[in-house]
């Protein structure tokens, strides 16, 4: 699972039928300080997350298919939790509710 911030969503008219009615979110991987890490990716929403939310996303097909569809659906990543906060051993806290 990857710690991410939702930066928005993507819309497509022409798509694989398994994406009908699903929300596809743009996820920016972040570190525990909230700093961006690498390139954004897309994930199907399973927890009604929205823009600005800190979330956990999984980039593994089995998880994604279990949560969002059938076994034969080409869905590879899914948003599976909204993070409230990340508490580190050194006492630092990343507040998940911080919206940008």
């Amino acid at each position: 699972m990857i710690l991410c911030r939702i930066t928005g969503n993507a819309i497509a008219v022409e798509k694989h039928p398994c994406y009908e009615g699903k929300i596809v979110l743009v996820c920016q991987p972040i570190d525990t300080a909230g700093k961006d890490l690498g390139r954004v990716f897309l994930a199907v929403d399973a927890v009604r997350a929205g823009e600005g939310d800190t979330v956990l996303a999984s980039r593994e097909g089995n998880t994604a298919r279990q949560l969002t569809g059938k076994d034969s659906d080409p869905i590879h990543s899914v948003v599976l939790a909204v993070v409230d906060r990340v508490e580190m051993n050194d006492g630092t806290v990343l507040d998940g509710a911080t919206r940008r």
Binding site: G8, A10, V13, E14, V26, R39, L42, P74, I75, H76
Partner: protein
């Protein structure tokens, strides 16, 4: 799944039987503002995406599932042609769309 812009097509006559008729596209991954980021790659496509269009593609086992023939050696495939991408309250729209 990731966003990428179509930058070319691959022509290959001799390929695995299950891949006959499957279009192969060269795509350039993009960030949320649709600016190029990272290294180009080849993806299989059944949606007939054109050059310049922004697609979203899946990798891994799910790539083959996105095609009509699902037991094929493919590790990246297009699952949709992106129309709009909203990020940070802003709309990024692929070129050629109004």
């Amino acid at each position: 799944m990731e966003l990428a812009r179509v930058v070319g097509t691959i022509v290959s006559e001799q390929k695995y039987t299950g891949l006959q008729g499957v279009k192969l596209l060269l795509v350039q991954p993009v960030d949320a503002s649709l600016a190029p980021k990272g290294e180009p790659l080849v993806v299989a496509d059944r949606f007939s995406a054109g050059i310049g269009q922004v697609v979203w593609w899946v990798g891994g086992r799910e790539a083959a599932l996105a095609l009509t023939e699902t037991f094929v050696p493919v590790d990246a495939a297009v699952v949709a042609i992106a129309d709009d991408v909203y990020t940070g309250g802003k709309l990024a729209r692929p070129e050629g769309k109004t």
